[in-house]
Symmetry: C2
Subunit: 339 residues, 2 copies
DNA sequence: ATGAAAGCGCTAACAA
DNA sequence: TTGTTAGCGCTTTCAT
């Protein structure tokens, strides 16, 4: 099989000009259908595939979409496959999907500029803002998901975490709890700050007390949830809350693990609730009461929006640049009714 | 910021020719260091980034590595982030990493040909073979990991599952078990077949009986583990084995969940062991006794090998095309000693 | 150590 | 509906 089959050879064999072959590959150009079929048939025979470098040089298109996450590391839960499979579902066939961590970009010009037709930023941290504004400055079509960006020019899809937490706290109060603790997330993540504030607000509204000695900040990993829960369990029993609110499911599972090792039954001895509704929260023991975080849906909406931006289908019907999704309470087993 | 800064403008501003600017960006070309620095400085000022389409047209390089998985779907455990973070660790700065599922490729010529400098195939199924041979036919540098390929021309890294299983079975026997059951994986995956056979062999060696009524085949999802375990629990008690071997950790966790719902304690009432040693197997309750499947390590070895192939650093010291990794027994809590 | 010119494979006017 | 021609931005001879 030849390594360098060009448009020229196809043209010669088909008895047409290069332009005609080129047109055969462009869906919206005028060409007799029989000619197109003939060209495709020959192309297939000799193994011709358009050279995208040459095409890109002329059209300035790359047929590559970039997905940039704040960071790619092990221990990401099922996060990544959820995002990628949902993006692929909306990705046109001829596009490639490149995946990269923002924290690894050393040279924007080399790594990003001139390489993507569009970019989806899955952002968890304000540290990503520099990158996001570079995208904007370079006029690279972008959609930012997962956290709100305070800029009307940037298309943005995120979930209304506060409402979710507020509902969670209300549910806890309704189940007769009076005092709660919390295991929060990384302080550098916007979501952590907002979730913590929402917990405080929720406690105020529902006349719950948030035990200061049982407020811990983790790093979203199961291990940190476990370690921090150990600390909470060491509290004198009169200070120990009857329910611990965790900033994500991973830490909640770690917290359950800590209880298990200390022979403390969840939820009979203490209740634990999570956030995110990751896949395995429903098969953990006990199954987690949590709040959905529709990251798959956001990813799918993001790629659809991005493609429409790239194809310049500016929707004047729907000019809004931000979409806020509503979270949903998922009630399972880890919260006890102690009334 | 200008959208189309070319080599020409940099050349003009630096008072040199286009060729010299081009040389500045090629590490192994002869150029005075001061000129190079001057060019870089100007390039940075006016926001120049080489146009990779133009470069690729000449050099036939794409600066894109492709990662192809058998399939990308939700519920993949932490598999994907483990693979990607390890590949990124070995990826040169100027390369993009494209991620795709083999099961979504409709047109090899369009999606693959002429688009990658090299490809890593993370293969779980013989269904991928067509794709793998297309890579070979098109002379695209490739490394296949996760499952053995029976072809000496294809660079291949995988783990010796059988040995792992055999050790697992031996451990079960040493802990006093006499009869076991199994929850296997998808029959279309090579690994499933081999793991099942290894279980049978292990039973023969260690004088264990594999209860026919307690052999079930699942699809590697936690849900299938749960459903299948329910079936096993419905068996009359004299037929119910004292230990269930699961083909992966996800199904093992599902099986534990089934026990929990039926008030059966793991491992006191029944033992369950897994395979893969995924991240959360150590914080599940009980923590899983399992076998490591060094997929992160394989990914890292694969990218290093691939880059060396691309850079034509043919290592005559080490001409082997296959590497077999040894698995490790991870002993935790889910297997009881019933002696 | 640097420059001039040819050409990579393709698309986009313009012409027929 | 199809063909001719110019040129996209870069690297690579071959000079100097």
């Amino acid at each position: 099989m030849n390594l360098l089959v060009t448009i020229k050879e196809v043209a010669k064999l088909a008895g047409v000009s290069m332009t005609t072959v080129s047109r055969a590959y462009n869906p919206k150009s005028v060409i007799k259908e029989s000619t197109r079929q003939k060209i495709f048939s020959i192309a297939k025979d000799i193994g011709y595939a358009p050279n995208l470098s040459a095409r890109g040089l002329v059209t300035n298109k790359k047929f590559v979409i970039g997905v940039f996450l704040s960071s790619i590391h092990t221990n990401m839960s099922t996060f990544l496959s959820d995002i990628l499979s949902n993006i692929h579902d909306g990705l046109p066939d001829n596009y490639l999907l490149s995946v990269e961590g923002i924290d690894r970009i050393t040279d924007f010009n080399q790594k990003v500029k001139n390489r993507f037709d569009g970019v989806i930023v899955v952002s968890q941290s304000t540290a990503d803002d520099t990158f996001i504004y570079q995208l904007k400055d370079n006029h690279i079509p972008s959609v930012v998901i997962l956290r709100p960006i305070d800029n009307d020019d940037i298309y943005n899809i995120y979930s209304d975490d506060e409402t979710g937490i507020l509902e969670e706290i209300k549910l806890i109060a309704e189940n007769g709890h009076k005092s709660i603790g919390m295991i929060g997330g990384r302080p550098e993540f916007v979501a952590s700050i907002k979730r913590r504030r929402a917990v405080e607000t929720g406690c105020a509204i529902n006349a719950l007390s948030l035990e200061p000695a049982a407020i811990k900040m983790g790093d979203y990993s199961p291990e940190s949830g476990q370690v921090l829960m150990e600390e909470i369990l060491e509290l004198p029993t009169d200070q120990r809350p009857t329910c611990i609110v965790c900033a994500n499911d991973d830490m909640a599972v770690g917290a359950i693990r800590a209880c298990y090792e200390n022979n403390i039954n969840v939820p009979n001895d203490i209740s634990i609730i999570g956030f995110d509704n990751v896949d395995y929260s429903k098969i953990s023991t006990p199954a987690l009461t949590t709040v959905s975080n529709p990251i798959g849906l956001m990813s799918n909406m993001a790629i659809k929006k991005l493609i429409s931006i790239i194809n310049d289908e500016t929707d004047n019907d729907n000019p809004q640049t931000s979409v806020v999704l509503q979270p949903k309470l998922i009630i399972r087993e880890s919260l006890a009714n102690i009334k």
